[in-house]
């Protein structure tokens, strides 16, 4: 029967028609009977109708029996809610827009959290996968010789795989087109249970020493580079200058193992021999580049596997001791073991980088939504006040209080539903914009942001919770309405009094408090970001262009390479607009680090870290090009050649740490060079401290070695050019010169300023978004305060009118209103300050040079909030002062 009732509910017209016909028949029969008993036709009709009672009401009651009352009344509630909301359009639009912003922001941040942290890897049984790590440390990278030991040894896994990052240039020469991919072991796809959508995936037999170069492409790469051509399988593609046979295209759902990064291609490990015939990483015993993932054997846990690995891995390490390490390091190496960690999600660098920022943002948007809720609750309260008579009439007419409350919640749900729909559209835009923002050509962030069931469920949940939250206050008030009182009060004057207003005022106080928390948070983040931007980096990035060039000189002898390098720098210097040119192994803030340890005669270091230095190779003029001043000694010179004693330039921090009692110039230290032999190096100069990896780092000891003395360096080097015009203008000139000197070379350009800005990506994102959310919170709180005060003034028209008529001065009246605003603000700020103390910890990690309770920032935030609040209260205050007593009283 349920179905029929439901159908009936959907076609009320038809049911009504049937009932009318049925009742008319009854009336006709009765009439006939009465006429037969001697009544006149006229009187009979009247009598028949009289007996029936009110035909409309009977029809309705009869219909009620036909229609499922719940469904029907819900529909009625919805219709009623729609009508009520449409009736006060301004209110509804404001409410829906603020909900759309609030819910949209929440959904956007949640969909990022979902993509980065919650979504499961699209592989078979991801919960069975464990990451192999170095026991007792964070490291999860291993060498290929170690990986081969694991693969071929008695490992405890059901299946095991290895992979490592690789970047290949797609361009043959000229400006580079880098593509990110993975080196993968032959069992990679099989162990993950990932299949191919065209061709096949790699198999163990593809990954044997001496293998031909093959490749499996990602779906996205296949689409963008090969136009989704199915015939591409079996053809070859040149990666890093070497042809690879395309054996297949991987399932589109699979985007690598690390959320946020999507490899474009998968190349078997053995193919490294094709790219680096003279010894790549395959037999390198101290090149830690591979990650190992195991699938737990049936019945095993990460802990039991760790126990088995501890014994099994001893022989693996014993078999792969790096011969060139000194005895102490070798002993250390032999003592290592492997363990298994269940945290496969932690592999994602995007996740580790942004997790905390995302949670902080999530907290922020949640607060914004709460403030929006308070606003809407306040608006609804005011409306409820206005509608009190209507509600009272409904209650007096017998509508159950429950029904009235349900009606209010339905209105809330309709509002929240509309807001959520709009918000979801907004969220899709916002989350994509954020990913674009974080993504850079060198570190592309690729996230699957499709709105999945989890995101949808989150949005629905948030919308319902919001609706319940902001309908609570008006509903609570509605059930306490005494119909007689409400009808009598006639929405008048002071009778409602303060008691009723308590809810509204508490909401305003809550809003003020929450906005203070947000405003303080964003002030902290903005302040910290401003400090970071203005922190002296130690160099002057603006006029500098970086050209990372792969000269393809691996085969040529060192002397020729160095000559060519010199030639290149000379020619570049001749380019118009170039004032300085230099080269280095890498550039500062490129998210790379070369760390090493030094020995200084006569100094012992408590911990090995105390002796660690950051290293770079630089050509003559490098410091001048970047604007790093030389403080003592000399710069490198072109006469410093490979045969001569090795020299270095150190920074102030290194000089202070290693040679505290003397001038660093002429001092000596030892450091492992190329072949692992500790070479003695003489310091020839000292430069001012400059940042190396991040702008946040303190002054760490740095050592610069002469590029012209380095014979082992890779053929890729970073050229830096200081220019007079905009740096980007030089691209074509530089490209032409590089190709003259090394025709096969490829070059990648970027402005140094961009590289610096990129290191602040997260900080900038947080600062900008928090400024936006803080501003939004402030605006919403102002609207709330204004609305409450304006309504209070409107309600007290009569009272104010009497006061004015009795001679109260307008100034006093507006002061009274502002006094109340100030009181609300004060209470809100006190509550808010308590909240700031609690939430400061959430963003502490992002603050640079600022405590979470920085007094200046707190004072500033309170001042901003109080000013904004008084501004919002000023309009109603003015209205109170200007009230015309005659008009106000006449309206009573």
């Amino acid at each position: 029967m349920g179905l029929r009732r439901l159908l009936n509910a959907l076609r009320p017209g038809r049911v009504e028609g049937e009932i009318r016909r049925e009742l008319e028949f009854h009336l006709a029969e009765r009439e006939d009977e009465l006429v037969a008993s001697g009544m006149s036709r006229e009187a009979a009709r009247r009598e028949a109708r009289r007996r029936f009672g009110h035909p409309g009401s009977l029809r309705e009651r009869t219909r009620d029996a036909d229609v499922a009352t719940t469904v029907e009344s819900v529909l009625a509630d919805l219709r009623y809610a729609w009508r009520a909301l449409a009736a006060s359009r301004g209110y509804s639009v404001v409410a829906i827009l603020s909900l759309a912003l609030g819910i949209g922001a929440n959904t956007a941040i949640f969909s990022l959290i979902n993509a980065v942290m919650l979504r499961q890897l699209p592989v078979r049984d991801p919960q069975e996968l464990v990451v192999v790590g170095m026991a007792g440390g964070d490291a999860t990278e291993f060498t290929n010789p170690l990986w081969e030991q694991v693969r071929d040894g008695a490992h405890p896994f059901a299946q095991v795989l290895a992979y490592g990052d690789v970047q290949f240039n797609l361009a043959e020469a000229g400006e580079a087109r880098p593509a990110q991919g993975l080196w993968v072991s032959g069992g990679f796809f099989e162990a993950l249970g990932v299949t191919a959508m065209a061709g096949r995936t790699l198999r163990p037999e593809d990954d044997v020493r001496g293998c031909p170069a093959t490749v499996v492409l990602s779906h996205a790469f296949w689409q963008s580079e090969l136009g989704a051509d199915r015939a591409a399988v079996g053809r070859t593609i040149r990666l890093g200058g070497h042809p690879h046979e395309i054996v297949g295209v991987v399932d589109p759902a699979f985007r690598g193992l690390e959320a946020g990064r999507a490899p474009s291609f998968y190349v078997p490990l053995c193919a490294d021999a094709v790219h680096n015939p003279k010894g790549g990483f395959l037999d390198h015993r101290s090149y830690w580049s591979l990650r190992i993932i195991g699938r737990l054997a049936p019945g095993q846990t990460a802990a039991s596997t760790t126990a088995q690995l501890a014994t099994a891995s001893a022989s693996w390490f014993a078999n792969t001791v790096p011969a060139d390490w000194d005895a102490a390091l070798q002993k250390d190496y032999l003592a290592r073991t492997m363990d298994a960690r269940p945290s496969i999600g932690e592999l994602s660098s995007v996740r580790t980088t942004y997790a905390q920022a995302l949670w902080a943002l999530m907290a922020m948007v949640a607060v914004v939504l709460l403030i929006a809720c308070a606003n809407i609750a306040n608006l609804m309260l005011v409306r409820a006040e206005v509608r009190q008579r209507e509600l009272a009439v409904r209650i007096a007419l017998g509508a159950g209080r429950r029904r009235v409350v349900r009606q209010l919640f339905t209105e809330g749900l309709v509002l929240a539903g509309l807001g959520a729909t709009l918000g979801t559209l907004l969220a899709v835009q916002l989350s994509h914009a954020m990913v674009r923002w974080l993504s850079t050509p060198r570190n592309p962030v690729v996230l699957d942001l499709t709105v999945d069931a989890r995101v949808l469920a989150f949005t629905v949940l948030v919308a319902v919770a919001t609706a319940l939250l902001f309908s609570l206050a008006p509903a609570w008030r509605a059930v306490r309405v005494d119909p007689q009182d409400a009808m009598r009060a006639h929405g008048r004057g002071t009778v409602g009094g303060r008691g009723r207003f308590g809810v509204g005022r508490s909401l305003v106080v809550a809003q003020v408090a929450l906005s203070l928390v947000l405003v303080t948070g964003s002030a902290l983040l903005i302040g910290s970001f401003r400090t970071l931007v203005s922190v002296p980096a130690g160099f002057d990035p603006d006029p500098v262009l970086i050209a990372t060039a792969d000269l393809k000189l691996r085969e040529s002898p060192p002397a020729q390479r160095l000559a060519l390098q010199r030639d290149l720098l000379e020619r570049l210097r001749a380019l118009p607009g170039v004032t300085h040119v230099a080269a280095s192994f890498m550039t500062p803030l490129a998210r790379m680090a070369w760390m090493d340890q030094v020995e200084v005669a006569g100094r012992t270091f408590a911990k090995p870290e105390d002796a660690s230095v950051l290293v770079n190779l630089a050509s003559p003029g490098w410091f001048a090009t970047l604007g790093i001043p030389l403080l003592a000694g000399r710069d490198f010179a072109s006469s410093d050649g490979p045969g001569q004693p090795e020299i270095a330039i150190v920074n102030e921090a290194a000089a202070r740490l290693f040679f505290p009692d003397r001038s660093p110039v002429g001092a000596r230290f030892r450091m492992a060079r190329g072949d692992g032999v500790n070479a003695e190096i003489e310091v020839v100069g000292m430069v001012r401290n400059a940042k190396y990896r991040t702008l946040r780092e303190g002054d760490r000891p740095q050592v610069f070695l002469a590029l012209s003395q380095d014979t082992s360096f890779a053929s890729s080097l970073s050229l830096v050019l200081r220019t007079v015009g905009p740096p980007a203008q030089l691209r074509d000139g530089v490209l032409a010169v590089v190709r003259e000197v090394a025709p096969a070379a490829s070059v990648q350009f970027r402005r140094f300023a961009d590289q610096v800005a990129e290191t602040l990506g997260t900080d900038r994102l947080l600062a900008t978004l928090s400024a936006f959310f803080g501003g939004l919170a402030l605006l919403l709180a102002m609207v709330g305060l204004y609305g409450t005060m304006a309504y209070a003034v409107a309600r007290r028209r009569g009272e104010i009118g009497i006061r004015v008529a009795l001679g109260a001065r307008p100034g006093r009246l507006s002061r009274a209103v502002l006094g109340e605003v100030a009181w609300l603000l004060a209470v809100g700020c006190v509550v808010g300050l308590a909240g700031v103390g609690g939430t400061g910890r959430l963003i502490e990690g992002f603050l640079f040079d600022l405590g979470p309770r920085d007094p200046a920032i707190l004072a500033l935030s309170v001042a901003v909030l109080v000013l904004a609040g008084l501004l919002a209260g000023w309009l109603p205050a003015r209205r109170a002062a200007r009230m015309d007593p005659m008009r106000a009283l006449r309206e009573e």
């Binding site: 029967m1 029929r4 009732r5 049937e18 009932i19 016909r21 049925e22 009742l23 028949f25 009854h26 006709a28 029969e29 009765r30 006939d32 009977e33 007996r51 029936f52 009672g53 009977l58 009651r61 009869t62 219909r63 009620d64 029996a65 036909d66």
Partner: protein, 109 residues
């Protein structure tokens, strides 16, 4: 109140019994039948009858269909269903118990 209004809850019983005894009937026929059989002691309120009929129809106790009366008027005819018959049996029994109980109280109280 000259004639007894029907006790709450007994209307269903009377309607079901009427339909079980007389076969398909329209609403007016039901009221007429109850009035006649009870010798004008019971009077069915139109205001209660139709909601009750529709409710019983929704609960599957009766079935309704449009048909023509002997006067050639369109009317909705109600028929008792199997579920209705079962319901009738149960209600009749509980009614009998109620009547006995009430009578005993009246006799000895």
């Amino acid at each position: 109140m000259a004639r007894n209004d029907i006790l709450q809850g007994t209307l269903d019983l009377l309607v079901l019994k009427t339909l079980a005894r007389r076969g398909p009937l329209h609403g007016y026929g039901i009221t007429a039948h109850i009035q006649r059989v009870s010798e004008e002691q019971l009077r069915v309120e139109e205001g209660s009858l139709y909601p009750a009929l529709h409710r019983m129809e929704q609960s599957g106790l009766v079935r309704a269909a449009w048909g023509l009366t002997e006067k050639n008027r369109q009317a909705r005819f109600y028929t008792i269903t199997a579920a209705g018959k079962k319901q009738l049996e149960e209600t009749e029994q509980s009614w009998a118990r109620l009547r006995d109980g009430v009578q005993r109280v009246l006799r000895y109280a």
